[in-house]
């Protein structure tokens, strides 16, 4: 199958056109005396990417297999873990969220649940102590805030 390169070639071509078109909308710099304005370099890049993506579509390479089924779900799960971690980091706090994130990641890599949880807890606490007290970089306390 040679779908990958055709598909992404098309996407990149679209990107090149949109990017190049946007570049033409930049107003001329004040005075207009500069030999090249803010749009010259982006226009050049749009042309290069456009040519490259055309080549990808015309002479595509052999595809690498995309993950399907269970593996794909796993991968999306990992991304969800990272996004939820970011979203709740400041409200819930570093220690709790990091424990959960590392434990979940480690568990999804086939570690036994209890060991995964221990890995998460230990690394979260150690990192918190090092960063907060050793390096004096404040990481969010969240709901564990003292006083």
């Amino acid at each position: 199958m040679r779908i990958n390169d055709r598909l992404f070639g098309a996407l990149f071509l679209l990107l090149a056109v949109a990017y190049g078109w946007q570049a033409q909308q930049f107003p001329e710099p004040m005075g207009g005396s500069e030999a090249i304005g803010p749009s010259t370099f982006p226009t050049l890049l749009a042309v290069v990417l456009g040519l490259g993506s055309l080549y990808m579509m015309l002479k595509p390479d052999e595809d690498e297999a995309w993950p399907v089924g269970k593996t794909l779900v796993e991968l999306i799960g990992i991304i969800v873990i990272l996004v939820v971690y970011t979203a709740l980091l400041e409200t819930v706090g570093f220690v709790i969220m990091t424990t959960l994130a590392v434990a979940l990641l480690s568990w999804r890599m086939q570690a036994p649940p209890l060991k995964a949880l221990m890995t998460g807890l230990v690394s979260a606490v150690v990192a918190f102590v090092i960063f907060n007290y050793g390096l004096e970089l404040t990481l969010p306390d969240g709901i564990l805030e003292l006083g």
Binding site: A23, E34, P38, I78, L82, V83, S123
Partner: protein
């Protein structure tokens, strides 16, 4: 003589207690990172950059630590090659050929010792080469004008895929994507916001440290999950070391020769450490002729690629320091570090920041001595750490990267961006579009545009100025060669590397 004075000044920077300690930490972490299968030197340095920032280190200290990490990663790559037959990074691939057979014959400790000595010699030879060649090249590069620099940037991108690269067009696509990302934000010369979509966070442009960690570390995590699902733990076995001085001396000529070969491969654009170790191995095989038992556990077959890849790694620092043009992924990441410390690499750096340049070069020498000390008596520790299963290590490594990013700006926006870059990195790697040109584009974009502007302003908008001097024409010619050559010699070279 002048060079020697500078080098002495460099040592006075590198040998302060703090910097020495940082070099030691860096060497240790680097070896560890290099040893972990899958976590190559570029990833390792990328993950540690945010850490260097959060430590609030002065530029020379941060650079010394990261240079030590860089040197250490090249040493570390051999450990898993020899013990597990899995190269820790790509250049260590050739070390498997004789290293693993030696380990199977119960001579793992010997193989590790010999390879450590060979790595050391290769590095030292190349560092001496760097000391001699770098100032000369920097002086010469002072003659470069804006047009030459613009051509040089094109050359860097054109040769980045390397002679063995599969599809040079994809390298160009990757570079274009990176350069496009670099135009996001306020245009420095005109104040015009570009591609910001009126998002406040985008006005200052994309921070490449976030891009690096996302593209490399997060995408690595995704790949890891995909590839290693349910895979068991590996057993690592070590024997007691019984090696005589004679055996070490026996590999010295090989190490010296291969250090030189590696250095040359490293300096040339588009070659890099992988080709360095491959060339050293094949050249040495030829030189030894019928006297070699390469492939069956010949100690010289371990020494050759190790001296070669360490030589190449240091050789790659020559174009990076003197021209500001990195030859490999890892040097690109080191360059990112320099740029974010507000140091513009290139010939001017040798004049404006002589203390930093020579401090780093001295740190390379010091770091290699530390590494030799770390890697022979303390090799057991690394072997132990290597037997910690990745299912615990990978999440922790990822965590360190995330904390590093967060503590730079304390902004969740950056973390979302990092995750997005991770997904992008995964998709690009799946379509076999290399990541290093993306990073390099993001990094070099502003300089490239600046030089284009300069050249065009001087010529009053005449594009032919870009190829107006013999020097510029020469650079363009090499760049074009760099794009065309992979189509001709690439398939042949790749086949040979696979066969051996």
């Amino acid at each position: 003589m002048e060079t020697l004075n500078y080098l002495m000044d460099g040592f006075s920077v590198a040998l302060t207690p703090t910097n020495l300690l940082l070099a030691l930490i860096g060497s240790f972490l680097g070896t560890l990172i290099g040893a972990l299968p899958g976590l190559g030197p570029a990833n390792g340095v990328a993950i540690l950059i945010p850490l260097a920032f959060t430590l609030g280190l002065p530029p020379e200290s941060a650079l010394i630590m990261l240079t030590a990490v860089y040197a250490g990663a090249m040493y570390g790559g051999r450990i898993s090659s020899i013990l597990l037959n899995i190269p820790g990074d790509e250049p260590a691939m050739m070390t498997c050929l004789d290293g693993y057979p030696m380990a199977q014959q119960g001579k793992a400790a010997e193989a590790l010792t010999i390879s450590a000595v060979a790595s050391f010699i290769g590095s030292i030879v190349a560092t001496i080469g760097l000391i001699i060649l770098a100032p000369v090249l920097a002086d010469f590069a002072l003659h470069f004008g804006a047009a030459e620099y613009f051509a040089l940037f094109v050359l860097a991108f054109a040769t980045l895929g390397g002679i063995t690269g599969k599809n040079p067009v994809k390298t160009i696509v990757a570079a274009a994507l990176g350069l496009m990302m670099s135009t996001i934000g306020i245009d420095i010369s005109t104040g015009q916001p570009r591609y910001t979509f009126n998002t406040l966070e985008l006005f200052e442009g994309i921070d490449f440290i976030i891009a690096i960690v996302g593209l490399f570390a997060i995408s690595e995590l995704l790949f890891f999950i995909e590839k290693h699902m349910g895979e068991g733990e590996s057993m690592v076995k070590m024997n007691k070391l019984t090696i005589s001085i004679k055996e070490v001396i026996a590999v010295l000529p090989t190490s010296l020769r291969c250090g030189v070969v590696g250095f040359i491969a490293g300096v040339l654009p588009g070659a890099g450490a992988s080709l360095g170790s491959f060339l050293s191995y094949t050249v040495e095989k030829r030189i030894l002729g019928s006297k070699n038992r390469f492939g069956e556990g010949d100690p010289r077959g371990v020494a050759a690629p190790e001296a070669g890849n360490n030589g190449a790694a240091n050789g790659a620092l020559v174009p990076m320091l003197t021209l500001g043009i990195p030859g490999s992924g890892t040097t690109a990441v080191l360059l990112a570090m320099l740029v974010s410390l507000n140091i513009t690499p290139g010939p001017m750096m040798f004049q404006q920041h002589a203390d930093i340049v020579w401090g780093v070069i001295a740190a390379l020498l010091v770091g290699n001595v530390l590494l030799l000390l770390l890697n022979i008596p303390m090799i057991g520790i690394f072997v132990k750490l290597l037997s910690v299963p990745p299912k615990y290590l990978m999440p922790i490594v990822t965590l360190v990267a995330i904390v590093g990013i967060y503590s730079i700006s304390h902004s969740p926006f950056d973390l979302y961006f990092m995750v997005a870059f991770g997904v992008l990195g995964y998709i690009l790697r799946k379509t076999e579009i290399p990541l290093v040109p993306v990073i390099l584009g993001l990094l070099l974009g502003p300089e490239m545009e600046k030089n284009l502007r300069h050249a065009m302003t001087l010529s009053d908008g005449d594009w032919s100025v870009l190829w107006g001097t013999p020097l510029a024409i020469g650079i363009w010619a090499v760049a074009i060669l760099g794009l065309v050559l992979p189509y001709i010699v690439g398939p042949v070279l790749r086949k040979r590397m696979q066969r051996s």
